[in-house]
Symmetry: C2
């Protein structure tokens, strides 16, 4: 398994990523997470193990990368006609997704990546982008006052992720709605 | 390497744990995290690999267990004479410890443990116990109003851990002090 020349950027690079990610998802579904190895993933993806090592470094970094892609939201948040309703619905959906067994596993995998890789930051960016979108809609409707995006991150997203990862007792849609009300109350003062 | 009979609870069990934890710490310092294997740790600790597998399951679970022990606070928080000063000092210290390179590595390792093992919960329990202690001191001094412990977890501990793990830009002692002021302001309303 001699090293191959560096993949060219662009088309081939994107194809390698897609096929390696797909191989991880398939093999995980078929054989479970513990059975995954770089040679197994590479064989399924039709690339050499050295291609995987060169691009991702090791299995942990690859799994982190796949997890972040799985945490990427599939659609913009729904429009419920007002910021309170929008943020409440978004928060309930976020809690449901992230506190599910797969959600928690992806969060842990994302955190496993090298801190310099920015994988964990990409997860919080997904939330920040959605909150920006809800705030932009609210501003267009002329709603005032509105919280700052980072205040919503601190008051809603942070407690949910903290409790999902470290302190799961008492997590509920009701608790999540309470966080939203507190965040809105703080911005109204 | 045939399996040995289950360790008796009590003395021997505690000694095995201490020697295996010490072996992990020593070998990590000497050779780095990536070089750790269960047979290597077992040899250094003077136990069989099967003892380690039987007790911890795998290397990941062992590293998670060691990380939680390292995150255990060494002393009670200092008494600064008032709740605001106590919580501010505790928060600055917590940020400094948890956002250091070793602190972040231990947090990630703690999260790697099996969710059923409760390792991550033990980390947040350490913070909860310290906050309880600060609140009890404040109550003895007759300070009013005081926040609820879980409100401090949501408003101070959660945003710090969220940003350390997922969103490190802008983390500073000033940001941490702002969280304390907000938590105290909320409890005063």
């Amino acid at each position: 398994m001699s090293p191959r020349p560096m993949a060219r950027p662009g088309g081939r690079s994107a194809r390698v990523q897609a096929s390696v990610h797909a191989a991880v998802r398939e093999l995980e579904a078929e054989r479970g997470r513990a059975a995954l190895t770089v040679p197994l993933v590479a064989a399924r993806a039709g690339v050499t193990p050295s291609t995987v090592y060169r691009r991702w470094g090791d299995l942990q970094e690859l799994l982190s990368d796949v997890a972040v892609e799985r945490l990427r939201p599939e659609a913009d948040p729904a429009d419920h006609g007002g910021f309170r309703a929008d943020l409440t619905a978004w928060t309930e959906h976020f809690l449901e997704e992230m506190s599910s067994a797969p959600g928690r596993a992806y969060l842990r995998d994302a955190l496993l990546g090298d801190p310099g890789s920015g994988n964990a930051s990409r997860c919080s960016d997904y939330s920040a982008e959605h909150i920006d979108l809800l705030l932009a809609r609210a501003a267009e409707r002329g709603e005032r006052p509105l919280p700052e995006r980072e205040a919503v991150m601190d008051h809603v997203v942070a407690p949910l992720l903290f409790r999902i990862l470290f302190r799961p007792d008492g997590l509920s849609p009701q608790y999540a709605r309470g966080l939203v009300e507190e965040a809105l109350g703080a911005s109204a003062r």
